[in-house]
Subunit: 340 residues, 2 copies
């Protein structure tokens, strides 16, 4: 480095023996490095008294050092945990998060998409859980720099990140089928949504593999809420009760369901088996502890921020891509062989 | 109204037989009215074909039609439910909410307070749950238009809204004392925080009223997290176990506690009684269902937005005021007389 000049990124890179890009990404917080490399860069920065140019840093990343996050319902523990994971990951990258809850209402979603454009966030992680009539897709395709998470918005062109819903349904079906269940009731979302369609498909596939033509999966469709779980339980109880097991496709639905069964003296798993989906609430403390498919919710949050930051938006051509994160089954005590 | 002119607020007020202020506040969504009055105004608006001036409406309310909300930890169900309530109330007033989760870290809190100034929100609802060293109070006193909710920030001058923590502690103590408990362990937050101090004081007061000098309340202080609940349970189990009941001062602490007791085969309430605080999680489905003090969390959310909107900030002189919302006890099956 020439004497008397201000040290540059290049000088730091040379002193640390790494590339300029590595130093640049390390300095703006978008790169994790092995401890030794990190230390070499930090030492070089200290020795040379290098000061990152905050203006340049801001430009390289966008304008605001803030990312936007839009979720439907923050009182739903799944979304709350997802938000916490994004916040945690953003904090590690020294990014602020501007968070908006839409109450799952299209008008409010559109308002927030526009608000976020006005506020100049560097990018947006968008989560909805109702079927779109095309309005959201149009807005998202127009604005770019959006990652779609958890539930698809058909026709939207964006990087998409979901849990492996079909695998989740399959794991639930397999566990139930192995215990002898042939006829299962699926309680989930609107079937225009992939979270409902894929989980149901996975469930039916597993039941058929085990029980062939005898396999049957009924379907109730509603919202992912405690209220809907209660309503679905009452519906089930007032019907012919042919299904011997229930696959409740969210923690909230499972809570409403268990509440009603308990108040009516219906024993789980004595009278009916129940398996849940999400497993972010304290299902392990329930009476009985609930068996459930666990979503990797913290990983979904972390990965969605990574996708937003690692996509080169300047060269990005609108297209839809899909990444799936694996789920697992957590076996507790709410599934038993069908009551005789 | 003169023919051919644009109808004004005054015309609407005259036709509906109410004051101009009433119409104005009704139109901008900051006033709930009895059904009949509402209908009279709505009819007058329709008949006169009155159109509110959106520019004037915006000015009267501030610049952005957006309010800011800062909370510590969105994965904590209490805060998630509080946020949902503010969002719901804001939606009714046609306000957007810019939400920020601080991870309870002072640096991030300060960053968000500043970010929110730059983004020109109309006002801020601020929730923290760690002791302040004076930095937050200074920033808040400098910016104004802040409502402090749930936990105090000493030395801050702002309207403040809390649940009645002392009453909550008292109700818990009274219930335990009536069942014969003289020696109770309080597991809560840092005692510099009012949520910890007041609940403890209320607890001790009730125990003393019933049992006089024999009353004793031990105290563990930590964070309102599941992890801390687990650690506190292990601490209790490794000690002399003289307390016959535990008052766990948040749902999260109670979850960690119950988890450890269950895994160690400690029976609630057979071996030890437990009473919780918050009651926003599904404590009623636990084995056993947990008795708890219920915070009016949706009401706290609603009322904090009201306070922000109804305060006349132009004429407001910095001062601290405090409003308390009542709590209630929800009795289930986790408290019994002390084990012999």
């Amino acid at each position: 480095m020439a004497k008397g000049t201000t040290p540059s990124l290049k000088d730091v890179a040379a002193a640390a023996g790494v590339s300029v890009t590595t130093v640049s990404r390390f300095v703006n917080g978008s790169l994790d490095l092995p401890f030794q490399t990190k230390k070499r860069i930090e030492d070089a920065i200290k020795t040379l008294n290098y000061r990152p140019n905050p203006h340049a840093r801001r430009l390289s990343r966008g304008r605001s050092d803030t990312i936007g996050l839009v979720v439907p319902d923050i009182a739903n523990r799944f979304f709350a945990t997802l938000v916490a994971a994004v916040e945690q990951a953003a904090d590690e990258k020294k990014l602020a998060v501007s968070l908006h809850a839409t109450l799952n209402r299209p008008g409010r979603e559109i308002e927030y998409l526009q608000l976020i454009e006005r506020n100049h966030v560097d990018g947006l992680i968008f989560v909805t859980n109702h079927p779109d009539d095309g309005a959201l897709a149009a807005l998202i395709n127009g604005s770019g720099k959006v990652i779609i998470v958890d539930e698809d918005i058909p026709d939207s062109k964006a990087p998409k990140l979901f849990c492996d819903n079909e695998q989740g349904g399959y794991l639930a079906g397999q566990h139930l089928a192995e215990q002898g269940h042939r006829h299962v009731l699926f309680i989930g979302g609107d079937e225009r949504m992939i979270s409902a369609r894929r989980r149901y498909d996975g469930l039916l596939k597993a039941l058929r593999e085990q029980h062939g033509d005898e396999a049957r999966a009924d379907r109730y469709a509603g919202e992912y809420t405690i209220e809907y779980g209660r309503a679905a339980a009452l519906d089930y109880l007032s019907g012919d009760r042919k299904a011997t097991a229930i696959f409740a496709s969210s923690d909230e639905i499972a809570i409403g369901l268990v509440e009603v069964f308990r108040s009516r003296g219906i024993s789980i798993p004595g009278d009916i088996s129940v398996i849940g989906f999400d497993d972010v609430g304290p299902l392990h403390l329930f009476a009985p502890p609930l068996t459930a498919i666990r979503q990797p919710v913290r990983e979904i949050g972390r990965r969605s921020l990574e996708l937003l930051l690692e996509t080169n938006w300047h060269e990005w051509k609108p297209s839809a891509s899909e990444e799936l994160l694996p789920v697992e089954i957590v076996v507790r005590n709410s599934v038993a062989p069908p009551a005789k």
